[in-house]
């Protein structure tokens, strides 16, 4: 039946249905469809409530946040569809954040948590196997290394997080088939766990012996923050390549509060394009000082587009600055960096929640379509890997917040300021990566190229960026 009613009352009815539905989802209601929300509606419901909740958390209205959390929990579940799972992990992160207001409670609840490092490593391996992203990254990295090291007789590779031997086995195999023969290869692997490095050493030396490549593996057991570049023992005369896969962003973790206090906010230090030129030509040490100081606002070179007109502000990070400078000091011939293509380094919670929602929605979608729902491995990856990342992004602040993903444009700025020049990734790398996807039947993934850098995308949304850099002298 159709009734003509004023437009003002249009909106009331749907809401009313909705309210009925959510107030009594399980009770037999006159409206049977209430029982089962279509997944789409449920998804939207979850999104809305997540944002509502995040807003409440950001404004510290805890009661409202609590209500929102309760509503979300009606439909969120780690076993459901992608949106349900995302909601589950996001609510956990938000709750964790709220709980930190009561440090005693928070500590008590976490006191019996058994942090298993083996579990973490296992989960990373699972991620490597289940999703093609890491494989693609390794492939592209190795291809770039091969090309850069053409003709080199002594090659030294530094792996900033050496946990997957497959990456270097691949490279060993490629190197053994070089026309000029394999070089003398040294790989320095950095990891926090000695056992992981031992395993890597074993596998790699075994492979190198099979292929008859003079090979050496140097393990370095330490975290990236505490890394002493001297311990890398880079020798003169050897060509150095550095591989960093999803590691650099953790160095951006700084004590935000202190930063804010030490420097007055706002764009008092904005540089216009002239200054930018000067900055780029500054000596390396001065740049390091710049990096260690306050916010650097840099206008991107193309003032035409609307987005470019807004300043690309780089959060100053002394750790990052000094680390990059140290790496620069080693004069690497090549440095390949893979990072998540997402802006998770905002200082505002809502900003991060929104970005995280977008990024992890794509990630969970990717898992959803690649792996069946019942898969325990998938759940583990979601919980132990992404769930932890989400928790870190949302619930942690300051130095503890290590998952500070940044988009490639920002990384480019940082690297350029630190004295690195871009190296274009070759088309053959793209071809190989494409073939890998085809051969595994990974559908929905694709690789985009832009300015010589690759973006590993899921359904047109860039998830990871792979870029290559080299040591550049200032003239």
């Amino acid at each position: 039946m159709v009734q003509d009613e004023g437009s003002s009352s249009v909106t009331s009815s749907p809401l009313q249905y909705f309210s009925l539905m959510s107030l009594s989802p399980g009770i037999g209601s006159p409206y049977p469809w209430l029982k089962e929300l279509k997944s789409e509606d449920r998804g939207l419901y979850l999104i809305h409530h997540l944002l509502v909740c995040a807003n409440h958390v950001a404004s510290s209205s805890i009661d409202n946040a609590n209500l929102a959390l309760e509503r979300i929990s009606l439909h969120a579940s780690p076993d459901g569809d992608a949106m349900q799972r995302i909601a589950a992990y996001f609510t956990e992160a938000l709750a964790d954040r709220i709980l930190k207001n009561w440090p005693g409670l928070h500590k008590a609840l976490n006191s019996t948590k058994i942090t298993s490092i083996t579990e973490r490593i296992l989960v990373q391996k699972l991620f490597f196997e289940l999703c093609p992203f890491l494989k693609l990254s390794y492939l592209i990295t190795n291809q770039a290394i091969l090309e850069a090291m053409e003709g080199e007789k002594m090659v030294h590779i530094i792996d900033l997080y050496a946990f997957e031997p497959a990456q270097w086995i691949n490279l060993l195999q490629s190197l053994s088939t070089r026309p000029e023969g394999p070089p003398h290869l040294r790989i320095t692997g950095i990891h926090e766990q000695k056992e992981v490095l031992e395993q890597m050493a074993f596998r790699l030396t075994e492979e190198a012996e099979k292929l008859d490549i003079p090979f050496q593996f140097n393990p370095i057991v330490c975290t990236l923050e505490n890394l002493d570049v001297e311990s890398l023992r880079v020798k003169t005369g050897e060509a150095l390549a550095i591989s960093s896969v999803l590691q650099l962003h953790s160095l951006l973790a700084i004590d935000d509060e202190m930063q804010k206090r030490s420097s007055p906010p706002s764009a008092s230090k904005s540089l216009n394009s002239n200054n930018l030129q000067r900055v780029l030509h500054m000596k390396q040490r001065t740049l390091g000082e710049w990096l260690e100081k306050d916010l650097i606002n840099i206008y991107s070179p193309s003032p035409d587009s609307a987005s470019a007109s807004s300043p690309l502000s780089l959060n100053a990070s002394p750790k990052m600055g000094s680390f990059l400078t140290a790496l620069w000091g080693l004069s690497p011939k090549l440095m390949v960096i893979t990072e998540q293509e997402s802006n998770q380094n905002g200082s505002g919670l809502m900003e991060r929640v929104l970005e995280a929602l977008n990024f992890y929605a794509a990630m969970f979608d990717c898992l959803e379509s690649t792996i069946p729902r019942a898969s325990v491995e998938r759940q583990r990856v979601e919980k132990m890997l992404f769930g932890e990342e989400i928790k870190n992004i949302i619930a942690c602040e300051g130095v503890k917040r290590r998952e500070r993903h940044e988009k490639l444009e920002k990384w480019s700025l940082r690297l350029e300021l630190a004295g690195f020049g871009r190296v274009s990734l070759s088309y053959s790398g793209m071809l190989q990566a494409g073939r890998l996807l085809q051969s595994y039947g990974f559908d929905g993934y694709n690789i985009k190229e832009e300015n010589g850098c690759f973006f590993l995308c899921w359904q047109e949304r860039p998830m990871f960026s792979v870029s290559a850099w080299r040591f550049r002298r200032y003239d």
């Binding site: 009734q3 069946p372 491995e377 190989q432």
Partner: protein, 529 residues
């Protein structure tokens, strides 16, 4: 003349000195203090001493008479004799200047036999004699090098195996400087040889691979190598039926080749030949199977690189087993396909791992189950719980379009107004309402104006976000947007209106569905008209 114990050689027997130039030893005055001569030029006024081989080879010439312990120096023996309470006498350095002594090698054929080439050090001459004219009694454990002098042997053992550098020519170096020096010379040789190799071969692509390797490799042949792959994959693909994935595997198993081996037709097909792709659609998974089998076949070529897929990126068995129960039919099919593909070293199981992974992706029968917005399929109502849901990204986009992702002030206001009421965007309600289409409550549905299957108006379609069965398949996934448009012309506007009316929503409960439905449809009707 003071001389060491032993015989003196016929040539230099207590002669005064040795001239640097010739064999005539002029008698010059003794030097004031000890100084080292330049190597190869002994002090002209030094005393030449010739010792017998026995003397030179002898170790521990001084023996204690009591315990028979041997000492190399008399002084040491004397000190030892003290311990036996024997009379001992330490020979002091003689007051007058000690004449510099040089030693000659007793071996006639030796260069150092000539007094003009005498060595200035006793230990030196001993070692020299051992090294050159002695038997090599010490052998290195790691390598096969033999040494006559124990100290040489010790020094070598320390270094042996710790070589750091290896030149192309195979020489090993433990010292960097020597390595680099050598490399400088060796490089020249190596480069020339390399240039000779690569020059005749063109290098079209910027890769270090041999030019004969074509990155557009299509079909790896089983256990055979056909280096003459045509650069044009299309030709190859169209020529070959799906099952035989075999293709030439390039001799050098680089990353490229391994990857190349894996995606034979599958890689090229979708790019180049849609019709062929279509016809092979049902065999798609088989292609993937053939990919894997080709990978195995390529690995059978013995190239380590080709085991890349299996070795490097092979999914874990857990995932394989995980999927195995889900698609046994496919697995068997692929096995069947894999059989004729040729010998595969790895056997079907590892090749199946990627297959099963692929199978899981093809589970739903379409290439991308939960694809992006452009591929959303609406499930027929009522949607069973296991039905593929809209992807999270799509949901977010929808929500964004509705203005929900923005921290809408109106949204908040709405929430603030009615905290007990779950606020939601208009879209959800409308969505949700749209699901009610198929509810038994036809009145509600009709009231909503949604349950009018006959209505094929685009406006309604846009409004009705689901159940294509009722409204026909709607590919316009931007229905939400459409919805928003339909309702208020702007999503935000409608949303705000919606939110603000939340306050009144509760009161409407009593009025129940038809009322609201009527409102909805009324508006719609108005629009349609």
């Amino acid at each position: 003349m003071p001389a060491e114990v032993g015989n003196s050689s016929p040539t230099a027997s207590g002669e005064a000195s040795v001239s640097s130039s010739g064999n005539q030893p002029p008698p010059p005055p003794p030097t004031a203090k000890k100084k080292r001569n330049l190597p190869g030029m002994p002090d002209p006024d030094a005393e030449v001493i010739a010792l017998s081989p026995k003397t030179l080879l002898a170790t521990n010439r001084f023996v204690c008479e009591i315990c028979n312990k041997g000492f190399q120096r008399d002084q040491n023996l004397q000190l030892h004799r003290r311990g036996h309470n024997l009379p001992w006498k330490l020979r002091q350095r003689s007051g007058k200047e000690v004449k510099k002594r040089v030693y000659v090698c007793p071996e006639l054929t030796c260069v150092h036999h000539d007094p003009s080439r005498a060595l200035g050090d006793l230990t030196g001459i001993k070692k020299h004699f051992c090294r050159k004219h002695g038997e090599k009694k010490w052998k290195c454990e790691k390598c096969s090098k033999k040494y006559a002098v124990q100290s040489d042997w010790k020094a070598h053992s320390k270094i042996c195996g710790t070589r750091e550098y290896k030149c192309d020519c195979g020489t090993l170096f433990s010292r960097r400087d020597s390595f680099i020096t050598h490399r400088a010379f060796c490089d020249a040789l190596a480069e020339e040889s390399a240039k000779a190799e690569t020059q005749p071969q063109p290098q079209p692509q910027p890769q270090p691979y041999p030019p004969d390797q074509d990155p557009r490799l299509t079909m790896p042949s089983p256990a055979t190598e056909k280096p003459d792959l045509e650069p044009d994959p299309k030709v190859k693909i169209s020529a070959s039926p799906p099952p035989p994935p075999p293709a030439a595997v390039q001799p050098s198993a680089t990353v490229l080749s391994s990857i190349l081996a894996d995606p034979p037709a599958a890689a090229e097909l979708p790019e180049n030949h849609p019709p062929q792709v279509l016809e092979e659609q049902p065999v798609r998974t088989n292609l993937i199977g053939s990919c894997s089998s080709s990978s195995t076949s390529s690995s059978s070529n013995g190239h380590t690189g080709n085991s890349l897929i299996a070795g490097l990126f092979a999914p874990s068995t857990s995932s394989a087993s995980l999927h195995s129960q889900q698609a046994p039919a496919f697995t068997d099919l692929i096995r069947a396909m894999a059989q004729p593909d040729g010998p595969s070293d790895l056997g079907p199981s590892p090749s199946l791992e990627p297959i099963s992974l692929c199978l899981s992706t093809n589970h739903g029968g379409s290439s991308s189950l939960f694809g992006g917005p452009e591929r959303r399929q609406y499930a027929p109502p009522p949607p069973p719980p296991s039905q593929p849901a809209m992807s999270a990204t799509a949901l977010l986009q929808k929500a964004a379009q509705m203005g929900a992702t923005a921290t809408n002030a109106s949204l908040l206001r709405g929430l603030g107004i009615v905290p007990s009421q779950p606020s939601s965007g208009a879209a959800e309600n409308i969505h949700w309402a749209s699901t009610s289409m198929d509810s038994e409550n036809a009145s509600v549905a009709s009231g909503l104006g949604l349950g009018l299957p006959s209505d094929g108006s685009s406006g309604l379609k846009e409004l009705m976000m689901g159940t294509p069965s009722v409204f026909g398949p709607s590919k316009t996934t931007l229905d939400f947007l459409g919805l928003g448009m339909a309702v208020g012309g702007s999503p935000n506007g409608s949303l705000s209106a919606l939110i603000t009316s939340i306050g009144g929503g509760l009161d409407v409960a009593a009025t129940a569905a038809p009322f609201g439905g009527g409102d909805f449809s009324g508006k719609e009707m108005g629009r349609r008209s």
